[in-house]
Assembly symmetry: C2
Homo-oligomer: 535 residues x 2
């Protein structure tokens, strides 16, 4: 049992990461904005923290006292800064509203339990006092997963899990590790590395997102082709509910009825609070080898990825930028607009991690497939560039917002045969709904499966007078379009509140009713993240 | 859309397969029985079909008429043979009772709908008339999955899905195929082969088990190391319930809430009737290469399998017999007791299927790992032997029952670190509870995962006076022991009624309650396979 050596850093209240890591826009990007999108940089920086308009704390006194009894004095925070830091997540509308000084969705208090027992105690207090509970890990939701319904409740608390940050157990024979939910990814990797192990889960939110959040939202990382989606890594879990703890996972796989672990994974705090997850882990790789490949078109690149996904060998990282994203150089997010690695066409990043023998074997075999699929090797440089900038996207967004640009992402997945029509439909919908501020629409394939793949879109345009409404319209149009074309409403961002209206398109009215029935059984008081996930 | 060219064969009512394929025991096996187990062969053959004691048909006349209206005349069968053929499954107790002429669990009628609409219509009739519905595919359950509770119902029907036997769609880009549930595996493979495709799902029940049954019970096949468990192959499904059809699966993977497909897979007919499943399929392999390896002990063999599962490359088939099973030669079930391929130690069968290039690459790489793990290559012969006898086990059991031996199997799965204690505990429990008729206990590992593996036990001993009670006791002892040692109550045989008492050990009381809540929502009348899966 061990804990991280250093506390987790706090993200900026109005944006991503720390001021230290923030970078201003390069002259190249400013040039792109002005020439390509007609955006004349203006000062659109956030208001001061002290100018944020915060609703008064509405928590009843008896609830406050009971919560304090459950977690101890000093672990129920009601100061402005704590409440603002736990307001909403990190979608562009979330940031735009906070940057403008609007914090209507702030929780009444932030509660920090120390362990599973305290989590259960807090839930019981919340049921008794009809207080809504928003589980809070890294606060990185981009789909409104941290905005619970207020009506019918005496108050709303953010249940901050950052004190549940232990590595509880390591099984070096089975290659599993049991982790608490509040661990940030770098903390988890630090603790595992002491055993020569790693998780390998590397979404763009890597620095701030938590183990519990990954499980609750069925996260997928940049290296999930090789290491697996997060839900595939979970072999066991414990879920705290108001009625006690539910433990699952006696074996890697069984036929003992439906796999109920999968019913908890993706439940976004609506069924309970994950208090630990047991994950498949890997030995630290001996070698990491990244390289770039060039394809003449997005279609040809997709065909090559499909062949690797269906016939193998599957690299650890496999990522294809479309023509627009390749031209802008977004695959090197720390240096967008710099000299492009590929003149025209599309960039594929291929990464292999593992033992020296396995990496060399797979690299050679994958290169044969890529070459046979009309790919042209670009060497190690584009791969290194991508690795360097892999977590830079959210910093770039903050800088774009600062100068009056709108920047946001959305994602979907589809079977291979439907992928071209989903790609076209989303681009057309975004271009059409943002007609007044013609957007740059970039796309990449970041996750492949034998039967399909994900599409990840980045949109940049000038901000309209009401950029929140502007994006809401664009997002609605794109969501309707991708559903009509056969895509999923989300590949790895989850449902939250932003995608709730499309959940029935995804799982049917019957599916929504089944989720309601499960929630009614596990959370009869309905205090767990009300309004999130389930319409 | 296509259907099989030939009708599916009917299994023998008292046992497995057809009389043509049945083989008498070899002199070597008879010798083993007598010398090793003290079994003097006696005539224990089944009673004649006409001597089976069948309860009268209890279906009320109005229910019979409504069912006939739903599926048409000629598709509601009440003759003795049809009812006996749909009585229970193929566990040894199931067979022993039928062989003795006892068919108390016979359904009142066998109903054969033609399509999904008729399935829904039948379910509505059953709700209206309070008739219990047992979904019936190949009838190969070995866990009492076809024995519904009678009390509180006006009757019980077997819903035979054999007429839902179409290949509905093939997507050659995404490599998926949509199949109806009543297709037997050889039929499904024949239809897919016309497109150059295959499923690759090869459990021992291959010849008789159906697509719907595999999905409903989360089957795992002999080649699931390479092709995946059946639940991993399902990307979409349609479930008929009394209130209509529920469709799931917009994309290979999403983050749109919990993966509800996984809640249907493994639901064993308790939530609804699968009317189609969309499966990942593969191109037909160019090459199939099987070989044998020798290890000095079961522990050393396990270590080698673990290394392949954790570091790769994973063969298509990977199977390790323990010392006892190797000595008996059960891995060559068509020729048990013949000259052993390996003198002492343990046999591993390794199979690779795929393109010539991939097979050669993986074969060489796997051989390096096996050699480094102290394995000794035995060449292709043991591999060929295993392939030849891979479906012979159930025929051998019939022949053993015929001469008064008891033969049955049970299986479990555990994390690698718990595997040795589970192995020891199950062997000890079986040896102890069958003390009066000292058993031969054989075991193999047939499925590996990065974090664990399955154990499959075969038990042979002399029949006691009441062999059903004899096995019930042995099974109870083994089940308690494997749960206490950290194993799963079942790896791929499912819960049915035989494992129901241990479901709460597997998923917790909370898990049982969640399953009840889901069932109440999907099957408010409670007519779907009552008493199966959910305690």
């Amino acid at each position: 049992m061990s804990r991280p050596t250093a506390p987790a850093p706090t993200s900026r209240w109005f944006g991503w990461g720390s001021d230290d890591a923030a970078t201003p826009l390069s002259p190249e990007v400013l040039g792109l904005l002005e020439a390509g999108l007609g955006i004349r940089p203006r000062d659109a920086r956030p208001v001061a923290l002290t100018d944020v308009r915060l609703p008064g704390c509405r928590l009843p006194q008896d609830a406050r006292e009971a919560l304090t009894a459950a977690v101890g004095a000093g672990h129920v925070l009601e100061d402005d800064r704590s409440r603002i830091l736990h307001t909403r997540g990190k979608s562009t509308p979330d940031l735009l509203r906070l940057r403008g000084g609007e914090a209507d969705d702030a929780p009444d208090a932030v509660v920090l339990p120390a362990d599973e027992d305290e989590v259960v105690a807090v839930l019981r207090v919340c049921v008794a006092h009809r207080v809504a509970v928003v589980p809070y890990g890294g606060g990185t939701s981009v789909v409104g997963g941290l905005v619970a319904r207020r009506d019918g409740f005496a108050g709303v608390i953010a249940l901050d899990l950052s004190r549940l940050n232990r590595l509880l157990a390591v099984d070096e024979v089975s290659l599993t590790a049991t982790l608490e939910p509040g661990l940030r990814t770098p903390q988890a990797e630090e603790l595992l590395a002491a055993h020569g192990l790693q998780l390998g889960h590397q979404p763009q939110s890597y620095e701030y997102a938590t183990i519990g959040g990954y499980a609750a939202t069925r996260s997928s990382g940049q290296a999930s082709a090789g290491y697996g989606r997060f839900d595939e890594l979970v072999v066991g879990l414990r879920l705290a509910t108001p009625e006690g703890v539910w433990e699952l996972g006696r074996a890697p796989a069984t036929a003992a009825g439906p796999d109920l672990r999968k019913l908890v994974l993706g439940s976004e705090g609506a069924f309970g609070i994950l208090t630990s997850v047991t994950l498949r882990v890997r030995r630290l790789p001996e070698v990491r080898s990244y390289e770039g490949w060039h394809f003449a078109s997005f279609d040809k690149g997709c065909a090559a990825l499909r062949r690797l996904a269906q016939e193998g060998p599957l690299p650890t990282v496999l990522r294809l930028s479309d023509e627009a994203e390749t031209a802008v150089g977004l695959a090197r997010a720390h240096d967008v607009g710099g000299p492009a690695a590929a003149a025209g066409g599309c960039l594929v990043v291929v990464g292999h991690e593992g033992s020296a023998v396995a990496v060399e074997r797979n690299r050679v075999a994958a290169a044969e497939v890529l070459t046979a699929s009309s790919g042209r090797p670009l060497g190690a440089e584009p791969g290194k560039d991508w690795v360097r900038g892999r977590y830079a996207g959210p910093y770039l967004r903050d800088a774009l917002l600062d100068v009056g640009a709108l920047a946001e992402t959305l994602e979907t997945a589809a079977f291979w045969s439907a992928l071209p029509q989903v790609y076209d439909a989303v681009r057309a919908a975004l271009t059409s709904s943002l007609e007044a501020t013609p957007p740059l629409v970039l796309c990449h394939v970041s996750h492949v499966y034998p039967t399909g793949a994900s599409l990840y879109f980045t949109v940049v345009c000038a901000q309209a007078d009401d950029p929140v409404a502007q994006w809401r319209e664009a997002k609605r149009g794109a969501s309707d379009a991708l559903i009509a074309a056969g895509g999923s409403i989300t590949h790895h961002h989850a449902i939250g509140t932003d995608h709730r209206a499309w959940l029935a398109d995804e799982v049917g009215e019957r599916g929504v009713e089944v989720l309601r029935a499960v929630k009614a059984r596990l959370d009869p008081g309905g205090v767990l993240n009300p309004g999130v996930l389930i319409p």
